[in-house]
């Protein structure tokens, strides 16, 4: 299991209220951070230590906010004030690894970092990301507990098998099952909602994107 992050209370840190509200906590974020008060900082590290201990003992999915608060001898409200929500706390736990990972492809040496040809960097980025995810899978999954269920509902499974069958029938090479997942990823309510509402894309653009994607993927 991953040794979690050292509670490296890298001093200042975000602060203000929830650790990831509006400002990006895990991004380089050069922006000035309203300094945190001394007692708050102390509680923050106590909370992170307690959380890390509990995660190590009982696994991330068993972690409850109340338990963390209790283990750190701190009020529940404090936990929420500091980390916003359960996900925020879990993420804070792997803040350290996350930074390393981000630096590796933002400013690290090629071929992952700048300097290599873009396609090469794409390849490396995927590999690095997959390994990063695998390494912290437990924590990351615990941060969005519903995530696993996304593939269970029968409609999704049906779409998947349908896509797989069509891909096979089309005689496209490659890993049909994997490619089916890729295609299915494009046909996801959450994605649709995000792109149309948050990003303002019209449905037509998604449809055009789908046709293009099918073309690229089935191209022998």
């Amino acid at each position: 299991m991953t040794p979690i992050a050292p509670p490296d209370d890298e001093q200042g840190h975000p602060g203000q209220t929830a650790e990831q509200t509006a400002g990006q906590p895990l991004l380089p974020l050069a922006g000035q951070t309203p300094p945190i008060r001394a007692d708050a900082a102390r509680n923050r590290t106590r909370l992170l230590e307690a959380a890390a201990r509990l995660v190590a003992e009982r696994g991330p999915e068993q972690l409850t906010m109340e338990a963390v608060a209790a283990a750190a001898s701190v009020g529940k409200g404090t936990v929420f004030r500091r980390f916003g929500d359960r996900g925020g706390l879990l993420m804070a736990l792997l803040d350290h690894s996350e930074r390393l990972y981000q630096e590796s492809f933002l400013t690290g040496p090629p071929p992952l970092g700048p300097g290599a040809p873009p396609v090469r960097r794409l390849e490396e980025f995927g590999i690095a990301t997959l390994r990063h995810l695998a390494a912290h899978r437990a924590l990351l999954l615990a941060a969005e507990p519903e995530a696993c269920r996304r593939f269970e509902p029968p409609p999704r499974r049906l779409a998947l098998t349908h896509l797989t069958a069509l891909l096979r029938e089309a005689g496209t090479g490659g890993d049909a099952e994997l490619l089916a997942h890729t295609l299915a990823g494009h046909l996801d309510v959450a994605l649709l909602h995000h792109l149309t509402e948050r990003r303002g894309m019209p449905l037509e653009r998604l449809e055009a994107g789908w046709l293009d994607l099918v073309a690229r993927i089935t191209r022998t």
Copy 2:
């Protein structure tokens, strides 16, 4: 807004316990269905009617299990026994549309149904699915409330912009932002977990799949 499904209590229906446990409720499922008891069937339709009314009045995301139970003059336990969980209830609400949608590509006329060349069917399937999703977005999203947050966390956003930038730099044509989402979909913890644990794929296969995907997508 979608008129929901008529509470077409198509008699028998699943039954047993939770409506979607193990057996696929929305799939053709020719399997024999242990017949439901009369009182259970009556309560089922009352619950669906109540739920549909509440959804129409206050929107799907406001729907609480207790409210449905109360509105149907039924115990809360009954709701859960029948529909398993919140998601099950929401899904049952669009069971009707779901069936139509499924039939359209499983046994309907070409080019969506069997008979057309596979690539053509792929194209049509995507379009049909996107429209199906758009039509029932509210209900589908309400069924997995965390879904929207999947794109908010800064790490995800960073990965997305990074992918977009690399794609643009690579001079690949097409909709870079959309293609970036496709690529990002392949680098998802939940997917990784599903494929490695549930489907037994080794990490190497995912890595190979990534390289293949990048190749297909950046292929001019």
